[in-house]
Point group: C2
Chain length 375, copies 2
């Protein structure tokens, strides 16, 4: 049986990431063993709850929890304080107490919002992540970042609030839309570039990557474990993003700007990250940090994942750069970039001038990608 427990050990919080196929119906007891009990509020969205809500609720009830449900719309454009207010209202209606638990059943948006609600309801109550998207499994569900978007920027409002448990059942990915699966592969490739060259090569030698159905269960399990270990390691080094943790934002600086300028409607997050990684790689080539050949390996692997690798031709690059200066990664007026030095190693720099970014990125603009299919 495939099963892994990856511990996350932080000064103020210790918890496990459990990865095990076909395990959703078994979540109740492990929660009890971790001291959770009483009332539980499942935060999810209608589609995912229809698939997995009954299994989760039943497992919780069998373990003695009183279960309430709050369904909110998914999608980056609903990641707002208004949606969080709905969760607050549900928390009040459910009578959540300080020892009650909020569970996020869904992707990164659900996890971020439910986590922020848990971080701020009664100044913080227990929280459990049950990610149902590949993106959330490898990234968002691990590490305690929670929050919502401001109309003028992503994730400007938020809190650090570590979960008590992260429960990953890869089998739920069978119902994930294909485009979302591909999108998340960008973050998987990212771990390869920022710190795990073995993972990068492992992905390169897999025959087909694009669809969930192309993957052997054991390969997917292996990749999930590697990603969770990468993320857990980085978070343990630097919980509050004082320094090292920023490497997880590889590709994200440009990605956030692209998402914002397209009103979070054109890209899935990982798709924007794929473009952002290519953009960062191109800057690294221009600075002489890594070779054109390494950049090409990155581009090829992303393309094999079915991901975009060009900045849309119609994108207004000066507007992109202006927006970067509003981003939270600005320090002392300079835009910080995370750029690769090798496959498996990145570094943080504020040496990139606006002029250089403009020049390099204009060479990576291309025809708009064909409208991506959802499946």
């Amino acid at each position: 049986m495939l099963s892994a427990v990856i511990p996350v050990r932080l000064p103020q919080a210790q918890y496990d990431i459990v990865i095990e196929p076909d395990s959703l119906a078994q979540i109740g007891e492990p929660l009890r063993e971790r001291g959770l009990k009483g009332k539980a509020l499942i935060v999810s969205h209608p589609v995912i709850f229809k698939h997995y809500g009954a299994i989760l609720s039943q497992s919780l009830q069998q373990a003695g929890f009183t279960v309430d449900v709050c369904l909110v719309p998914a999608g980056e454009r609903y990641k707002t304080l208004k949606s969080v207010q709905k969760i607050y209202d549900a928390a009040l209606a459910a009578g959540l107490e300080r020892q009650s638990t909020i569970l996020a059943l869904g992707g990164g948006v659900i996890g971020d919002m439910a986590g922020f609600a848990a971080a701020t309801w009664l100044r913080g109550i227990p929280f459990v992540q049950v990610p149902t998207t590949l993106l959330a499994m490898v990234d968002a569900a691990i590490g305690g970042k929670t929050g919502v978007n401001h109309p003028q920027g992503k994730n400007l409002i938020g809190a650090f609030h570590q979960p008590r448990l992260v429960w990953i059942d890869p089998t739920v990915l069978q119902t994930l839309p294909g485009r979302e699966f591909r999108s998340a592969l960008a973050e998987v490739v990212k771990y390869g570039v920022i710190q795990d060259p073995d993972l990068f090569q492992y992905l390169e030698q897999l025959p087909r990557l694009e669809h969930y159905g192309d993957w052997q269960g054991a390969d997917l399990f292996h990749v999930l474990v590697r990603c969770a270990e990468c993320k857990a390691w980085v978070v343990q080094q630097d919980e509050r993003e004082a320094g090292l943790r920023a490497i997880l934002n590889y590709g994200h600086t440009l990605a956030h700007a692209l998402e914002s300028l397209t009103n979070y409607r054109h890209y899935l997050h990982g798709e924007a990250v794929a473009v952002g990684m290519v953009g960062a790689g191109a800057l690294a080539v221009a600075l002489g940090w890594w070779t054109a050949a390494e950049q090409q390996r990155q581009v090829n692997l992303l393309a094999r994942c079915g991901l975009p690798t060009k900045i849309p031709a119609e994108m207004d690059l000066p507007a992109v750069i202006r927006l970067l200066h509003h981003d939270k990664k600005v320090q002392n007026g300079h835009v910080r970039f995370i750029l690769p030095k090798a496959i498996g190693q990145v570094a943080i720099t504020d040496e990139v001038t606006d002029a250089l970014a403009l020049q390099v990125w204009s060479q990576w603009q291309g025809d708009p990608e064909p409208a991506p299919a959802l499946h």
Copy 2:
């Protein structure tokens, strides 16, 4: 010269409470000495900013800060997510970065909202408390509790976020409305009851308490220092209110219900706390925890402060008790109370039944207090 520095030492945060008359114009340098620099956003409300905004801004600018201002309405009924959103908008407009500082210039409501905005902007940025009310000086500004009200309950939404500095200049109390000064004396008396019998006796022997002008500067300074020491000690024992810190809520269980049922329009917070302390003292007498004579000393001291000591006759007590069950201090379905065992000592109990509370409190209902004057 009167000046005191009271250190607060928590595992994740160390900061000072500075108490010094006529010191507001000197705040800039101490902030720099504590590593703060760059952009500063002052959150205040129009009346207090008119009095002290220029002094504060100037001191910050002289120390090299870039200063922006966000004015929000004061008053418990404006302590909402909507007001916090205004602060977020101002933070965005001011271009606050992770090393920027939010300063709260005002009372507890301003401090709670500005603190919550600081706790959740970019997942937490530095925060400084400059309390301008007696209530905020002795209570709200110390200890890191931040948050806003939910339409159905006080402080349900919030976060723990410790300030980098608490700067108390008692001279600013000269412009505080008299009713607010009296109201805050309830929290001062509270410290006497919960842990400082010397403070209680010190207050008893002062000739006049009701007005700011009745106080000698040295007496007020002494009392502010004692209160800050009490609060700092409790917070150091129990930052996250796992246990001991709950004693600070002496009088607050009933007070929150009274405030909520009167839509935060009838009582100032301390006035409700005064009634709540009397209500708690009465329960303690009924349980045999302390004597009727001790309760009378508490009632007399509160009355000498010009504070209400009776539950309004028209108050619907069963509604009060129902509301207590919605309060965050409910644990396992029992309402927790903090009750006095002596002047200087309280304990937490869940032994108070709804029936007992109903019976005891109905005996402490009285004619509505005359509408209090603002000055």
